[in-house]
Each structure stands twice: as C-alpha cells, then as structure tokens.
C-alpha cells in the first residue's frame, strides 16, 4: 500500500505532461525549429538546394528590389484591410440582425456558416466561374436584357484583387457572424432593457453598449481573420492563379514561386521571414494589450 500510492500519484502528476509531450514536440520541431531554419536560409546564398553559408542581408536586398514583391506587399495590404473590415463589419451586422429573435434562425445560421465548411480551392473555383464575364454574373445580367452591363473585374489587373476580397469575404463572414452571435448571446438582456427604459434608441444601444461589450469576440475574429488573410494562398491559386499577369500576387504565392519554381530559395526564405515579422508586428502588440487588460480585470 505504502509503495503503490506514491506510484499512482506520480503517474497522475506526470500524465498531463506525458499527454501533452508529443504535440509539444511536434510544434517545437515543425514550427519553431523550421522558423529558425528558414531564418538561417534567408541569410545564406541558397538557390535550388539549401546551402549553409552566410551572405548577410543580401537576399533581403534582392527581395526588396524585386517589383513583383512590391506588388505582393501592396496586394496583401489592400486585401487584408478590405477583408478584415468587410468580414468583421458584415459578420457583426448579420449577427445583430440574427439576434433579433427571428424565425428560422437555426436554418439561416447554418446557411451563413456553410461556406466555412468549403475549402478555399472550392470557393476559388466556384467564384472563378461566377466572376467570369462569359459564364457568370455578367452573362446572367446580359441574358436578362441589360446587354450593356459589364462586370469583368477578374480580367482587369487593377480590379482583380477585389475579386479575391469578394470570394474571401463570402467564405469567412458566416464564421465571424457565428463568433459575434455567441458573444451577443452572452450579454445580459436586462442591460439592453435598462438602456431602453432610459430612452436610448436601438442603434445607439448597440453602438455605445453592446458592441463595446463584444471586445473578446473582436479579439478572436481579428486574430483568426488576420491569419487567414496572411496565409491566403490556395484561394489565389484557384481563383486567379496570381493573374492577370502578376496582378494578384501575394507574399505567400511569391514565396512559393521563388522557392519552388524559380530556384531562389534564399529570396523565398527572406520573404517568409518578412511575412513572419509583419504578422508579429501586428498581432503581438494587439494580443499583449488585450491579454494585459483582461489580467488586470478590465
């Protein structure tokens, strides 16, 4: 008895660590080790295969003198700004409307959330057809009689990136809506009643009381959407394949083609590091301020 009790206690103490160990190991190797490895490669002169020498920041200089990379960075900026703003805004609006105790709410919620279940490849392919002037929206409107109607953004270099925004917003809005809806459901109904009695109009109640209470939901939505925006790769490939020309190039597609198509592994690694630093520069301060505040008890 005196021996078996400490043993079972010891197992109990170690069990959580044992269970967590494999995933921790995988994360350490597959994420952090390869981040370090990529960082190292970005400082080497690697071309088609990794080379472990040191050339300082040469690859970064080459990267930033590539016009295609400038396009990619600009596109990422346009895409993530619009994608985040539209998805958050529409998701919040839809959640507020769904929260008004309407009929068939469950069905509507499922419909809005359904695009999230598709892969970006499917979304990209479907929207490629919808946006194709000869097959999709333009053709339908033309066939209905409005023959002068033109909607060919996907074929125009200046507008093609907005097509990517449309498809990505369509895919992710339901998801943002679901998170906001959960947040709205957590709000004590009597808070809204109290504001009503004080004479506040419904838009004002939402603007000054309800939306500020959704801060945790905003945190989740913004973090998850930024990550979707920056890693967006499959959607671009399926929808526009970085075209027309290189008009919809994004850092992720640039990194892929530099590393695996154009045998410039060093430049590819440098672009990957730039992406990592961008993400860190945006997310880390945001996370820090939000988490710090919640630790202080708000």
């Amino acid at each position: 008895m005196s021996r078996s009790t400490p043993l079972s206690n010891r197992i109990e103490n170690w069990l959580p660590r044992l269970v967590l160990a494999p995933s921790l190991l995988v994360v350490l190797v597959a994420v952090y080790l390869f981040i370090c490895w990529t960082g190292w490669i970005s400082l080497s002169s690697s071309m088609i295969v990794p080379k472990y020498d040191f050339v300082g920041l040469n690859q970064y200089v080459r990267l930033w003198s590539t016009p295609r990379w400038h396009t990619a960075v600009f596109n990422l900026f346009v895409f993530s700004t619009l994608f985040l703003a539209l998805t958050t805004g529409l998701g919040l609006l839809m959640a507020i409307l769904l929260d008004q105790k309407i009929r068939v709410e469950g069905t509507l919620r499922a419909i809005f959330l359904y695009p999230m279940a598709l892969s970006f490849i499917v979304t990209g392919t479907a929207w490629k057809w919808i946006l194709n002037p000869a097959l999709g929206v333009q053709k339908v409107v033309n066939d209905l009689g409005w023959t002068s109607f033109v909607f060919d953004w996907i074929a125009q270099p200046t507008f093609a990136i907005y097509c990517v925004v449309i498809a990505a917003v369509w895919q992710s809005t339901g998801f943002a809506m679901a998170i906001f809806l959960a947040g709205l459901r957590g709000i004590d109904n009597s808070v809204i009643k109290a504001a009503q009695i004080e004479g506040a109009s419904l838009p004002r109640i939402y603007r000054t009381i309800v939306v500020p209470m959704l801060r945790p939901a905003f945190l989740s939505v913004i973090v998850l959407l930024s990550y979707i925006a920056i890693k967006s790769f499959d959607l671009i490939l399926a929808l526009t394949n970085t075209g027309p020309g290189s008009a919809t190039e994004m850092p992720s597609t640039f990194m892929y083609s530099a590393t695996f198509r154009r045998d410039q592994m060093g430049v590819g690694a440098a672009s990957a590091m730039m992406m990592l630093m961008t993400v860190a520069a945006i997310i880390v301060p945001y996370l820090y301020s939000e988490l710090k505040e919640s630790r202080d008890g708000h």
């Binding site: 004590d188 009597s190 808070v191 009643k193 109290a194 504001a195 009503q196 009695i197 004080e198 004479g199 506040a200 004002r204 000054t208 009381i209 500020p212 209470m213 801060r215 008890g297 708000h298």
Partner: protein
Amino acid sequence: MSTLEIDRARKLYGDLEVLKEVSISIGTGDFLVLLGPSGCGKSTLLNMIAGLEEISGGEIRIAGKVVNDLSPKDRDIAMVFQSYALYPTMTVRQNIEFGMKIRGVSRAERDKAVKTAADLLQMTHLLDRKPSQLSGGQRQRVAMGRAIVRQPKLFLFDEPLSNLDAKLRVDMRTEIKRLHARLGTTIVYVTHDQIEAMTLATRVAVMKDGVVQHLDDPQSVYDRPANVYVAKFVGSPSMNIIPAKLEVKDGNAIAIIDIPGAATAQLAGIPVSSQAAAKYAGRGILVGIRPELFSVTGAASAQKLSVNIDVVEPTGPDTLALFQAGGVEVTARVPPRAVAARTPATLAVDTAKIVLFDAETEQRID
C-alpha cells in the same frame, strides 16, 4: 402626483394566460410589493408596467395617464434589475449619466445630479471605477443611483436583492426603505421573499398563477390572510392550518380540534360573524393559528390545549415546539426552555387572532 392604477390587466402568450385580470391601485408615495413564487406572473406584471412587455388586455395608468401604448422611455419610470444591468464597459459615472446624456441634459446639470445621487448613496469614491471592480452591494447601489437621477414618477425594482448574500441583503433592505422615506417616490417592488415584503411595503399584493390573492397593507395580510395560500406564504414559520369542526353555543363559535392522546381542544372567542358561524355550524373548517399565538403561561381568558410535544427546535430568541393536532403537525413559538421534547404540555392560545378558512374553497371566513 404619481399614482399607479392597474385595471383588469391581462397577459397572454398564445393561448396561455399568465395574468388574469389583475387590478391593483396605489396612491402617491406608496410602496407596493408584488409577492409570489417564481412563475406567478409578478415579474411579467412589472415588465408590463415598465413597457417591456405588451399589455394583452385592460389598462395601466401612471399618474392618471394610460400608458398601454407608450414606449418605456415615455412612461417616466426608472427600473432596477436583479442582475443590476450596469453597462460593463462604462465607469460608474458614465453609467449614471447615460440616460441624462440621451435626454440631452447639460454637462453642469449632469455633474450636479451625479454628485447628489452619489452623496445620497455614499458612493462618491466609486465614481471612476468600472462595474467589474465593485462588489455586489456596490453594484446594486450604482443601479439605484442610475434610477434616482432620472427623478421618475415611479420606481420599479425587480428582485433587486436576490443576488446578494444574506447579511448584505438585510443592509440593502434598510437602505431601500430609507431611500423611499427620503424621496417619497411611488415604488413597485417584485420579490419572492415575504420578509422583504413585510419590512418594505405599504401595500402587498400576494400573487399566485397570475391572480392577485390578497392586496392590503402588510400587517393586515399577515393577520387576516385572504386564503390558506396567503396564510402559508406569508410568515415564517408559516401559519398553522388545522382541520377542525365548528360548533355554535349560545351564539358563540367554538372550534373543536382533535388532539391525539389528549382531550379535544375547544377554542372559543374566535372573531367570526354570527351569520358565518350559523352557516358553518356543525361543519368541518380550517383553523389558522400563527405560531406566536401559542403561549405557555397564557392570559386568564386564554383558551387551552393539552398536547404532547414531539420536537423542540431552539432558534435563540425563542423555541419552536412541534406537536400533532387535528391530524397535522403544528408549530408553536414559545420562550426558550419553556417546554421539553416528548413531554405533555399545556399551551394557551390567543383566540382573538385566530383566522377561520372554508375547508373546500380555502377562503377566509369572516
């Protein structure tokens, strides 16, 4: 002038009638408590007064004006909720100011009103905190401050003390009473706690299944409950309801109660009209006796019961003695150490305060 008249108000959810023609009328400065168990419709009635629920039938008038179709903000009311309903992202000051800001009150006036309310509720030091940094009692105080600055015709309280611990509840109860005395505003207060109702109210409406069972001042509700339900709901321990037989001797009503293992008790001097006594003579009735009507010594004129005490429960200031009479368990409140368990005792009853109920309808017999 801030009277409240509820005139045959009804509330239907589909075919379900949760309020059945409720009529209550109170005057300026009254403190009306709607008392009842959960599901009796008391909160629904309060929400209808506030305008948060539609009125399916009848009328509600505040200060003589029909408010059926007025939105909550136009009814000149302020409400305090059970969950406090403070705006969590605003400071205490912003919470109190919010309504005035919406009504476009000037900054100087807002500051003055906030200061007055904060002084009144002794929370000046809390004004720049967020609700999450306050204790339950402080939050409740802020909620009341928010209601006070509105200077409404009618205050509505929806179980405001239910979320507080027992000691704080007693303190806040006193505070609400003091507030009412100072402001003199008409108050409607919903609770399921009969002690809150007794201590605070000037008028109590005991409700059950959407019907007002008894509407009167608290002492009358306690002394002469309208029916067995009210008798049992108000008072702790509740009123003893003992099956008995009524007999009339020389025009005086006498209640005859069987007591196991002892002589039948014959209680005379019960206040009941001679017509009622004649009507119920020789029939079974229910005798309502509050536990404190029993005494061990008893006045000379008091009627006596010889009983066998089963259990004794000391509460400190006095002792509850339990015994069998008329086939039910009866509780008597007697001085400490006056009786012992499993021994016979003779208890006197102050029969002038006994209430009789009809055995079938359970309504009071006058």
